[in-house]
Structures are given as structure tokens and as C-alpha cells.
Amino acid sequence: MTAAIEQQVEGFQRLFTRVKQEVAKVIVGYDDVIECVIMALLANGHVLLEGVPGLGKTRLVSTLSDVVHLKFSRIQFTPDLMPADITGTNIVQENAHGEKFLQFQQGPIFANVVLADEINRATPKTQSALLEAMEEKTVSIGKQTYKLDPPFFVLATQNPLEMEGTYPLPEAQLDRFFMKLKVDYPTLASLHTILNRTTQSQEPEVQRVLDGPQILEMRKTVRSVPIARPVQEYAIRIMMATHPNTKFSHAQTNKYVRHGASPRSAQAMIVGGKIRALLHNRVYVSSEDIRSVAMGALRHRIILSFEGEAERVDPDMILKGILESIPEPS
């Protein structure tokens, strides 16, 4: 039995590494982002990618869908996009006898990997169309509820610079993302590689190394990794430190944060920690695992206060302070 677990861990690591390597063939210089995206996929979560245009966010998602051999759809969010454009709608059909009936036409949400490109350009009403799908993995149209095929994985992108004509995501929407990843400019060395790969006649080809059932199996493996109570408490303490005016609050939290992270953030830290533990050939979660995923899991769940907004405080700065201040469990 022990050997089976060892094999399971080894298989997980091998598959994960292969996916990562395949994506990295196309996406250069974003190893951490790729790892976190795969992590979210295996954690049954969704990812919000934030970065200026042209950094390869969309390419990353499409490459990933190629590698994991899943049904991929892309929704370009615009201000006039309607919820029905995402979820689908009932349209009037006529049968051979000339009888008319309503038939549900599935929207792009009915895929395994959905790219919600520039999600903040759509109105909150449209953005909210994703809420049910992301959490319950179902879509309700009228009185009918349609179940989405697992694995269901939403990758949303947003541009942090263009604020005109955009609608910031509501807190409830943000909370449904497993992680928010920041895509920065690539380094000089990475840019050379990118240019070399994209300006030549032959573009790199990726192989499909993972399919839906394998992903579901890997998700099961992730959930099996045990976590000791002290480490779990460490994750909880980090989460609670983001809550202003409690006995666990950090000084900066009290000053700049209006609302702290929800319990979903603790879930995200622990599940993310489990995946990281497996990647490091461990069968338990360590404090370091929690710390390494904390930023991505918490940064979009912290709602800044007026003072924080006014002083343009970066939630990452607050989180860094929190992580430094909370001692490791003993």
C-alpha cells in the first residue's frame, strides 16, 4: 500500500512536470505563473491573471488547453456582452412537422477550460454570469440547470492599466478565484528566448500529456495529502491576520484593510500547499508550502480601506508583512 502511494506521488510529480515543461515550450520566463496555473487546475480552482497586454496571458491559457487535451473556449469580454452570450440561451426551433419549440443553445461556458479574456471590460451583470459556473459548476437557464463537464477551469485575464470603460470585479466574483497571479514583464534573457521562438518559421509544438480523467485522478491525490493541525493553524492564522480589528490582526491590516480574506483563502492555501508538497516529493504539508501559495491565494481577497486605496497600498505589501510577522508553528 505504501508503495502505491509512493507511485501515486511519483506519477503526480511526473505528470505535473511534463505539463509544465510542455507549456514552458511556448510560454517563456513565467515558470511560477505556469506552475500556479497548473496548481489551480489540479486544485479544482480558477485563476485570475493580471498583467498588461502582450505578455502572453491568452497564449498561456490556450497552450495549457492544448497540453491538457480539454475542450477550450474563449470569451472576449466587452461592455455589451450579455450573460446569455456566456451561458447560452433558449432559441426557438422548428421540427419537421413545423412545430416550434425552445432548444437550449450552449454558450462558451460549456467547456473544460474557459478563457475569460479582459473580464473587467464586461458589466457586473455579465461578470456575475460566471459566479454559478465557477462555484457550483452548473449553469441555470430559466428553470433548467445544466451541469458542466469536469474538469471545469476558468482562466480570466484583466488589464490593470486601462481603467476607463472597465468594471472592477465584484468581491464575490473575486473570491471565487483560487489564485490571482500577476504577470510581469519578462526578463532580458526570457525576452531573447521569446523572440527566438516567435520570430522563426517554426513555432514550438506542444504535446498533449494530460487528459480530463487524469486531472480528476490527480485532484484526488492532492486531497489525500494529510496536513498536521499546527500547519493548518498556521494557514488559519495567516488568513485571520488579514481581518482588521481582531486579536490576530496585523498592524497594517488594521490600517489599510476594510475586509479580510474569506475561509476560501485558507482552503486555497492548504490545497495549494498540498500540491506543492507533492511536487517536492513530500506527503505532508509544511509551513513553507503554505507560505509559498499564500500571496496568490490572498492578494485578491483583501479589500482595501479608503486609506489603503488613497495611499495606493499594494495588498502584496500587507501580506508580506503578515507572513513575516506570524511565527512558524512549533
Binding site: V225, P226, P230, E328, P329
Partner: protein
């Protein structure tokens, strides 16, 4: 052994090792801090000279506190979870041991947990505690050694006032101030210069006394009492010396009437006895050249001067008498030897007077020393060692304290009766009733009674007993005092001023030595007619009886 036992054994071993390391470090660091205190105390000791009792108390407390602190720190066992966490950090195990220990303590049926424990057991087997927690010599030990060395070095610092604790030395309980030491040295030097027989004994006693005081064998008050006794002993001859000086003046006044003796009488009257002796020898040499009338006159005066000699001048008077008789017999040879004897006697008297002067000066130095000691002793007044009472205490107590200091002759004056001719009667010092405890007439103040007392005639305080019953006579001076109190204004001193006057330093000059318009004979009469203390009660009774009779009439 199961994986779980293996992990637990490993953790316990690590705990023991860590505990021993920690104890070693704790002891070293505690001592490093603790040794700062005795070093600081020793440094302070170089300036403030702590007594043995203080040092022993401090060191005992320090030792006890250090021991308690060390024991407290050594107690307690580290939790194994902490040890596991510590090893995880040291061996970079990423919480492996900590998690495994938690799963051992909180078992659950999970293959994943079993795998984790098995892996941890393997890792624990690979770990070497010696490498993880090596036994290191704590740095604090160097500090401890340094402080210890410094403490020893401080004890051996070549300073005159450094008391070596290692040799169980400490500052004496009492230390003379520089001024007091100078007074003592001066007194001893003066005593050495004087040739009186008991001077060396007094000097020796003085030194012993101070030594005992410094060693804490006697209290300051005892020392003051004994010093005052020595002072009295030294100044006892002052009266005789004064008497002799007066007698010599009287003799010189008589001799001056003889023409031939005038040259010798002049220096004799002014106290230049050496010169007078020389002049006497010249007179002896010139006897042959003198007329018979001069010789007769000289003989008469010498005989006259030899009458009723003062105490201490009997030998001189005898020499005068012999010389006078020889001159009367016209025995010039005998007269010459008589004059030679007079010269020798004068030289001897000169020596005596000089000696007494030196003793008197030594006495003054001792008085200064006493004053210094009293100042030193003042802070101890409240510590129950019988020091002087505080200023706020009642006057009876104050007078008692003064009685100890030697302002005697007043302590036994009844009910504050001042006496005109007695130094003791100064403003009713001793017998003045206190505010809170009025003294009944004849009752000596409690503390004052400890003094030897004195009489109002300035007699020797060593022999005068305590006064007896108080007189019932109304004393004229007391009446006058009451009268002046009753009439405010007219130069009356306010009470505060009277108090202040009472506090002023008393003159140490004997009242008989005060400048006076009286002739020597009058003075002599006054002195000679002192009422002996033995007869005072009788006289008092007489006057009381007379008064009763008068009142009856």
C-alpha cells in the same frame, strides 16, 4: 522498534542533549550577568567603603538570587514538539519531524500518514545529533572569566583604601574624616611635645580609643564620652596653671616693690619665667654691689612674697623664704644659692606651665575631634544606638545630650537656676524644663543625669556629685527673667532668638580667665571663697530656714 518509537526515541535523545546544552549556556549567561553585580559593588566599594556586614549581606543576597535564578532556568523540560521543530529548522526538514510527531500524538488511520511517519523515521535515522547540536563552549563563559578576573584585580588594586574581599577585609565600621584625623594627629603630637608623665598614656589611650571606634568595638557615643574624659584630664591642669600664673603675678607685684628685684619681677609678672630666672641669677651675682638698704628691702619683699603661696607655688615661695632669710642674716653665700634655687624653681614652673599649655592645646584638638565625631554620629541618632536626639526633640533631651558632651556644671542646676558666677549657669541650659516633660526642681534631666554633672562654681566635674534637693528659695535671677518675659518689647528677645542663643557654641574659656578689672587679690578672694559642694546643702538649708522664719514673722 516501530517507526513511531524510533521517532519518539530520537526526539527524547535530542531533548536531553538540547537541555544539557541549554543548561550549560544558561548557567554561563546567568553568571555573566550575575557577576556584573559584585564587580559593580566592588567598584562602589572603592569609593564608599562598605562595611563587612554590608558586603556579606550583599554577597549572600546576590548568591541566593543567582542560585534561585539558575535553578529556575534549569527547571523545565522542552516539549518534544519544540524539539521536533528545532530539528526541522536545523536539518532543513521542512516540518517533517514536527508533522510526524503531531501525527504520532494524534493518530489517524491513513496510509499517507503511515508513509509520512516511515519517511520521517528514515530521516531521523540519518540525522546525527552530535552534528545538529554540538556541544559548544558558550561565549558567556569568557565574559564570566573576564568579570571574575576583573573582580579579583579590583581587590588587589594598590589603593590605600581598597579592602581586599578575598582576604576577608572590609572597611571599618567607622572612619575618621580627614579633619578629625588631623585633629587626632595634632593632639598626639602636642602630647608628645609636652613632658608630663601621663602624656604618653593619654596618647596611647587616644589611639586605642580611635582604633576601637574604627573597628566598631565601641559606639560613637562611647568614644565621645571617653574622649571627653581624656579632654577633661588634659585640661584639668588649666585651673592650676591659671592659679599659678595669678600667684606669680601677685608675687611679682610684691617683688617689684624692691628696687633690686624689679628687673626680675617685670618678666615674672608677664609670664616670662625663663627671663625672670635669668634676672634672679643676675641679682645673685650682683649681691655684693647692692647696698644694705636694698638688701634689706629685697629680703622683706621676698619674705612677703613667700607668704600664703598658691598651690603649685609652694616650692617657689619656700625658695623666696630661704633667700629672704639668708639676706636678712646677711649670709650672702646662702642668699646666692637661694637666688639660684629661685631661678631653678622659676625654670621648673615655666616648664610646667608650658606643658600645661601644650596639654590644653591637645585638649582643644580632642574637643575638635569630639565635635567632628558628633557631626558624624548625628545621622545615627535615629538608629537606636544612643546618639544625640534630633533637634525637634524636647529641650530636656537636648540638655541631656549636652550633658554628655561635657557642658557640665549646668546639668545639675536645679530647675534651670542660672548662676552668675558659674559658667554652668549659662541660660539654664541643662536644667531648663523641657516643653513636653517639665522637670521638677532638683530633678536632673534623664540624659543629663548620665553626665557626671558639675557644680555651679565651675569645680572639677569629675568629683562633683549630682545635686540634691532643689532649693525652695525664690531665686532673684529667675524672677527677673520672668519679669522680662512679661514685658514684651524693650529689647526682649523673641523665643526663637532665645532658642538660637541657647544653641550657640559655648565659650570654652574658664570664667576665671575672663578679663576683669579686679585686682589679683580680689580675684583670688573670689576663687578662694568658692563654696565647697559638700557644704552647699547645709547653706541651702540655712537660707531656707531663714526664709521660713522671715515669712513667719
Amino acid at each position: 522498534m516501530s517507526d513511531r518509537d524510533l521517532i519518539l526515541n530520537f526526539l527524547e535523545k535530542a531533548e536531553r542533549r538540547l537541555r544539557s546544552n541549554r543548561r550549560f549556556n544558561d548557567i554561563a549567561s546567568t553568571l555573566a550577568i550575575a557577576f556584573v553585580f559584585p564587580v559593580a559593588f566592588k567598584v562602589l566599594d572603592l569609593f564608599f567603603f562598605f562595611r563587612a556586614r554590608t558586603i556579606v549581606t550583599f554577597l549572600t543576597l546576590w548568591l541566593a538570587a543567582t542560585l534561585v535564578f539558575v535553578i529556575k532556568r534549569l527547571q523545565g523540560k522542552n516539549a518534544l514538539s519544540h524539539i521536533a521543530s528545532n530539528i526541522d529548522n536545523k536539518a532543513n526538514l521542512e516540518d517533517q519531524l514536527k508533522t510526524a510527531y503531531w501525527f504520532i500524538e494524534n493518530p489517524r488511520k491513513s496510509e499517507w500518514v503511515d508513509v509520512q511517519i516511515r519517511r520521517t523515521a528514515e530521516a531521523a535515522n540519518r540525522l546525527r545529533l552530535d552534528a545538529l547540536f554540538p556541544r559548544r563552549f558558550p561565549r558567556a563563559i569568557y565574559k564570566v572569566c573576564g568579570l571574575l578576573f576583573f573582580l579579583v584585580a579590583l581587590n588587589f588594586l594598590p589603593l590605600s583604601l581598597n579592602y581586599n574581599w578575598i582576604y576577608l577585609q572590609a572597611a571599618p565600621p567607622f572612619r575618621l574624616t580627614d579633619e578629625a584625623r588631623a585633629s587626632l594627629d595634632n593632639a598626639i603630637k602636642l602630647l608628645e611635645r609636652a613632658k608630663a608623665a601621663d602624656n604618653s598614656q593619654i596618647a596611647e589611650k587616644l589611639q586605642e580609643l580611635i582604633s576601637e571606634l574604627e573597628q566598631g568595638d565601641i559606639s560613637i557615643n562611647d568614644a565621645i564620652k571617653q574622649l571627653e574624659e581624656l579632654q577633661e584630664q588634659l585640661e584639668a591642669g588649666d585651673i592650676d596653671a591659671e592659679n599659678m600664673t595669678n600667684g606669680l603675678s601677685q608675687m611679682a607685684a610684691i617683688l617689684k616693690q624692691a628696687k633690686a628685684l624689679r628687673d626680675a619681677a617685670q618678666p615674672m609678672a608677664s609670664g616670662k619665667l625663663e627671663e625672670a630666672a635669668s634676672q634672679m641669677q643676675q641679682v645673685a651675682e650682683q649681691l655684693d654691689s647692692l647696698s644694705a638698704a636694698d638688701i634689706r628691702e629685697m629680703a622683706d619683699r621676698l619674705m612677703q612674697a613667700s607668704e600664703k603661696p598658691r598651690s603649685g607655688l609652694q616650692e617657689l615661695a619656700s625658695a623666696f623664704s630661704n633667700a629672704g632669710a639668708a639676706l636678712q642674716r646677711a649670709d650672702r653665700q646662702a642668699a646666692r644659692s637661694g637666688f639660684d634655687r629661685i631661678a631653678r624653681e622659676l625654670q621648673s614652673l615655666n616648664q610646667q606651665l608650658q606643658d600645661q599649655k601644650l596639654r590644653s592645646e591637645a585638649g582643644d584638638e580632642i574637643a575638635d575631634l569630639v565635635e567632628q565625631l558628633e557631626e558624624e554620629g548625628e545621622p545615627q541618632a535615629g538608629d537606636g544606638q544612643g546618639g544625640q536626639p534630633n533637634k525637634g526633640e524636647n529641650k530636656a533631651n537636648q540638655s541631656g545630650a549636652r550633658g554628655e558632651r561635657g557642658e557640665r556644671g549646668e546639668a545639675t542646676e536645679q530647675g534651670g537656676e542660672p548662676s552668675d558666677d558659674a559658667q554652668a549657669g549659662e541660660q539654664g541650659e541643662a536644667g531648663e524644663p523641657g516643653d513636653s516633660q517639665p522637670l521638677t526642681p532638683g530633678e536632673a534631666p534623664a540624659d543629663g543625669a548620665n553626665g557626671k554633672g558639675g557644680n555651679s562654681f565651675g569645680g572639677s566635674t569629675t568629683s562633683a556629685p549630682l545635686e540634691g534637693e532643689a532649693t525652695t528659695l525664690e531665686v532673684q535671677l529667675l524672677k527677673e527673667a520672668l519679669k522680662t518675659e512679661g514685658t514684651p518689647g524693650e529689647g526682649n528677645e523673641p523665643d526663637e532668638e532665645k532658642e538660637a542663643a541657647g544653641e550657640r557654641e559655648r565659650s570654652k574659656l574658664d570664667y576665671r580667665n575672663a578679663p576683669s578689672n579686679l585686682t589679683p587679690a580680689q580675684k583670688d578672694l573670689l576663687i578662694q571663697e568658692r563654696i565647697p559642694w559638700e557644704n552647699r546643702q547645709l547653706i541651702k538649708n540655712y537660707f531656707q530656714a531663714v526664709k521660713t522664719t522671715q515669712q513667719g514673722k
